[in-house]
């Protein structure tokens, strides 16, 4: 039932064997992308998720939900300067359903090759590749490195961006600046089925890039005025918990206090640097980011490096990624558990992409994951989890 949209979409895809259909004299183009994924997690003590937008994940089992997704995009070239783009996407969402959502809907205006304006619902590319995370066909991995991209769940903003390009020296210098309001939901990390609304969070930022020969370097900074809203029922439950904890010795008042603090509006500052080297069959990417929040315990430093080398139609790759927080003792927030909350984990991934036909790629990937603090990127964690998991994935990525 929950996957009926996706199945309908895939059935549609099967019917129309024509690829990237041009309609109305080439002015309107319909295209799509998708992934059929199967993921197995060796550990039955923690659910593996791809990003914090997913409410649950496989633990000791196989799952098709981690990577499977489908997107459809309509490009309407109104004239040489103006294009309208609408994209819908279906993926395992915050409620564990495949309900389609509007990922982009914007007008792109390029009065000149050096200037581009977009207005409407646009992809948020705080980091290199972050606005193409759903398009598995566009990268080597089964999914973008989870330690780096996994806790960034805002994929789009309602607002605008401007891109300015100019040749400098031997290369191109370009910058993009964006501002807008988020409209996204995220499931509770506690596995209680609650959904929080980040709509109304404001985002402003940009990045500067220099591209020359086989290199690209990006420096970016973004400020998010983050706000999260829970349902009235959830807030009433929280009030009751607060009451109960104020007199019961079994409950530490620090717990409801901590939960309530997650709904405080606060500023998040993100800075990042990315380097990509791409020469013939060799692809190297390295990124580093710092996320600064009120209080040092949950500031996140994250990084990854990935190297791939194409040999005919097979590209083996290896990726090392990690994220670090100072963390906090669970007991400090009133949870009767040893250990620390936070987001310190690292992953070694090895895999291969096989381009088996036009617009069709098969990937297999093995991830060796080790978590020291498993705050956000695993679900339904058992208290005795040793922090280790081996993830095996086999994905089919396509575009049409």
């Amino acid at each position: 039932m929950s996957s009926r949209y996706l199945l309908a979409g895939l059935a549609m895809l099967g019917c129309s064997s024509t690829l990237a259909a041009d309609l109305f004299d080439d002015r309107v183009t319909l295209r799509g992308f998708g992934t059929l994924g199967l993921t197995q997690n060796s550990s039955d003590e923690a659910g593996y998720i791809r990003d914090i937008g997913q409410p649950d994940g496989p633990a000791g089992t196989w799952s098709a939900h981690v990577d499977t997704r489908l997107g459809l995009q309509l490009d309407w070239r109104i004239n040489d300067q103006l294009t309208a783009v609408v994209q819908g996407r279906s993926r395992y969402n915050y409620e564990g359903r495949y309900q389609p959502e509007l990922s982009w809907a914007f007008l792109r205006y390029a009065p000149d090759p050096a200037v581009q304006l977009r207005l409407g619902r646009i992809g948020l590319d705080t980091y290199m590749l972050s606005d193409s995370r759903d398009v598995g066909y566009s990268y080597l991995w089964a999914r973008p490195p989870v330690d780096y991209y996994g806790y960034r769940y805002l994929s789009h903003i309602d607002g605008g961006d401007i891109t300015l390009i100019r040749p400098v020296g031997h290369g191109l210098l370009w910058g993009k600046f964006y501002a807008g309001v988020a409209d996204e939901k995220v499931p509770s990390a506690l596995g209680d089925g609650a959904v929080f609304d980040a709509g109304g969070s404001t985002v402003i930022g940009g990045h500067i890039n220099y591209e020359w020969d086989n290199w690209r370097v990006q420096l970016g900074t973004t400020k998010v005025k983050h706000q999260l809203e829970a349902s009235d029922a959830y807030m009433r439950d929280l009030d009751s918990l607060e009451m109960y904890c104020s007199f019961s010795p079994e409950c530490d008042p620090a717990l409801p206090e901590y939960i309530r603090s997650t709904f405080d509006s606060h500023n998040i500052y993100i800075t990042s640097v990315g380097v990509a080297y791409d020469r013939g069959p060799l692809q190297v990417q390295a990124m580093l980011s710092h996320l600064d929040r009120t209080g040092n315990e949950t500031d996140v430093d994250a990084a990854f490096i990935s190297v791939g080398y194409r040999i005919k139609s097979i590209t083996p790759y290896v990726t090392l990624s990690g994220s670090r927080t100072d963390g906090f003792a669970y007991r400090d927030i009133g949870v009767e558990l040893d250990g620390e909350g936070g987001l310190t984990q690292q992953t070694l991934s090895v895999g291969a992409r096989y381009d088996l036909a036009k617009n069709l790629a098969l990937k297999t990937q093995l991830d060796y994951l080790n978590a020291d603090q498993s705050g956000l990127l695993a679900r339904n964690i058992k208290p005795d989890w040793d922090g280790n998991a081996t993830i095996f994935s086999i994905n089919l990525d396509f575009i049409f």
Partner: protein, 141 residues
């Protein structure tokens, strides 16, 4: 005998040369005389579509020759080019070059549009278009 074998060898070399080149062409009406490989990469990879003459570039891909062209231009095969464009298209950043099946169709488009850039086998370039760059297929950048 010696002269003959030299002639034979030159013939072989010339034949190899002719087969191994791709000509990047514009209409003879275009003010563009020459374009660097770097500029051509910017135009065809959707990074910056302004020609040295100041005009907006309108790149055209010719399907039968596409694999050879991108191999010569950036040493990549079509799966990698498609994967590259998947990122730009589905993030809504840029549109790929126009795709054309027939060289006649492409030549007509080039004749009509001074900013249009296409490519042909160097051995089959008609008189009314100008070669602005010859890409050798034997050496990658």
């Amino acid at each position: 005998m010696k002269i003959l074998s030299v002639a034979f060898l030159s013939c072989l070399l010339l034949a190899g040369f002719a087969r191994a080149d791709i000509a990047v062409v514009v209409t003879v009406d275009s003010p563009l005389r020459t374009v660097s490989q770097n500029d051509l990469i910017n135009v065809f990879m959707g990074r910056y579509r302004r020609l040295p003459t100041g005009e907006t570039a309108l790149p055209v891909d010719l399907s039968p020759l596409k694999a050879r062209f991108y191999r010569a231009l950036v040493d990549k095969d079509l799966a990698e080019i498609n994967s590259y464009w998947a990122r730009l298209i589905f993030s809504g950043q840029a549109s790929p070059p126009l795709q054309m099946q027939e060289s006649d169709e492409m030549l007509q488009y080039i004749r009509r549009n001074p900013g249009a850039l296409g490519y042909l086998d160097a051995a089959a370039v008609p008189d009314d278009v100008r070669i602005v760059l010859q890409l050798s297929e034997r050496q990658a950048p």
